[in-house]
Amino acid sequence: MDRTKGERRDSIWLAMSIRRLGAIIRKEFRHIRRDRRLFFLVTVSPAIMLVAFAYLFSFDTARIPFAYYDRDRSAESRQLLMALATDRELRFVGEVASYDDLRAAMQAGRIRLGLVIPPGFGADLVAGRTTTVQLLGDGSDPITAAVQMARLTGMIGEWGQAYRRLNPTPPIDVRALVWFNPFLRSSHSMVPALLAIVLILPGMAVALALTREKELGSFESLAATPVRPAEYILGKLIPYLVYGLVGAAGAVAVALFWFRVPLRGSPLDLAGMTLFYLLATLGVITFVAGFMATQSTALRAVLLLFLVPSVFLSGILLPVDPQTRLTAESLPATHFVVIARGLFLKGQSWQALGRPLFILAMMALLSITFSILTLRKRVG
């Protein structure tokens, strides 16, 4: 170990030549362009994986059939029906004339949800009295039932707010109130968060690129040249960052135009923060890949250390568990989930997202620095 000192004397760590950096970058761009699978992995697969994951993890892809039992038949009850019948996630099957019809329809599987409006509903609303409605769900599909009932509870409650000025207490007896994603569309909160997952793919590609060079032996030739660790690491990262941004743009386009998730924050903020996230994932994965000798171990490391924990721990499916908080916080994805949801759903500005942004920036800076410092121009 005493020799590391001697090696430092070469002071190769900070020294950089733009010419050599440029040579590595050009070479790396060529590798990506000429390897169709690699090109696909970095630029196209994030968007495709986003679609696949969104359908895998969301429960609201098919429209839910529902029926309406209106015992009031007032102007107000018809307005509520209109509001529900035009909802994008519900399919209005028809009206029924009795509880028995409602039960029969649900038993036959023709409907999954039913809403019963009591007599006097409209009169109570107008008079400012609190009124109740009955929501029936098909318990044979508990997840859909729970999700949709919670969502409808929120929707009806919000619809009832129009009558609020007449009454200080909520006009319709629904207590659930959900912030930011009032219609509880799981795709709306899921898709932006899943961006954090699919943008690990460029990182996976850089891990493969780094280990392939060792595996195929070209690193041995390169190690015997005057190339500097900083040139090598940055020369690898920059092309993957550029193509990674292309991949990110594709995935964001899918979120906006396929899943129709509204982007309430600034697109510029989204671009900037995505850049930081890509830098952090590329950096951390580069650091880890530096200790791997083969593409297969690098691939496994990315899957087991980043992709899988990011899916389950970063707060995409469930809120971050206090027990796994530390692990979650050490994953760049956890911070980007906060950022993506903040930008898409809450319309937050970059000032409000200072903490996760700062953490990502630090992760990027430290991981890239350590990747450079730990790179050995050695084989074996």
Partner: protein, 322 residues
Amino acid sequence: MSTLFCRNLQRRFGKTVAVAGVDLDIAAGEMYGLIGPDGAGKTTLLRMLAGVLKPDAGTIRMAGVDVVRQPERVRSLLGYMPQRFSLYADLGVLENLLFYADIFGVRGAERRQRIERLLAFARLEDFRDRPAGQLSGGMKKKLALACALIHRPRVLLLDEPTNGVDPISRREFWDILADLHLEGVTILVTTPYMDEAERCQRVGLMHEGRILRQDTPSALQTWVPGRMLAVYAGDLAAIAAAVASFPGHLDHHTYGDRLHVFVAPDLTDPEAALAEHLRACGLSFRQILSDTPRLEEAFIHLIAHREDESIRAGARLPSVEL
């Protein structure tokens, strides 16, 4: 002072001792050939000399620079061609050359001139745009050499540069090395082929991590004891069994279509005596000739001798796979 120098160089991988204390002194402009069977430690030695593998112990100096401590200081004067194909298979011939030119800081008109010269030198002018991965074995090796030469290194380390190359390309390759030698480049080349080592000024025989002997190719041949007779026959196995009982027999092994028999130097007319012996055993043969041992023999003898001091007493040589 020698251009390439190392003392007591050692490296192990787990329990395997790959290089077990090697000393080398290679003079400026010398062409030094390192021969030895697979696993002898040639690649490990070259990697350490090239500054891409850390020795466990020992010192290396290249043109006066301590390679172990300051490998970066020798990069620009060293050309290293690893044993494995180590260029970028998806980049074209010209792209690979341009890449290494940029990495070594060769630019402008000089870059263009050198690349043209090297392309001509390696006879790759017509393959400029062909991806390196699609070149023949010989062309790959020549491109790798061209890339290693792009910055006009003073020292060249070549690890089995002609392995897996057809005989014509091998000859071409060695003609290129001869030119470089004339230009004054110091060359250390490893090879499993004895006939190639014979083209070097000095040859080192490496086995089990050590250099057993080093000398000029012609001097190495004189280390073989006794005289060598070549027996040409159809059934070499039967002849081999019979020569072991020949008085004065030291050693023998098959070499292509003949059997090489080493006999004590004090025998008078050994050809006739051996012929007599074989006839007495009831064996027929075409011819027995006195011959000069080639490097193979010298090499096998040295290894066997090291492993088994009783060789001189007439024990059979272990076979060595080359």
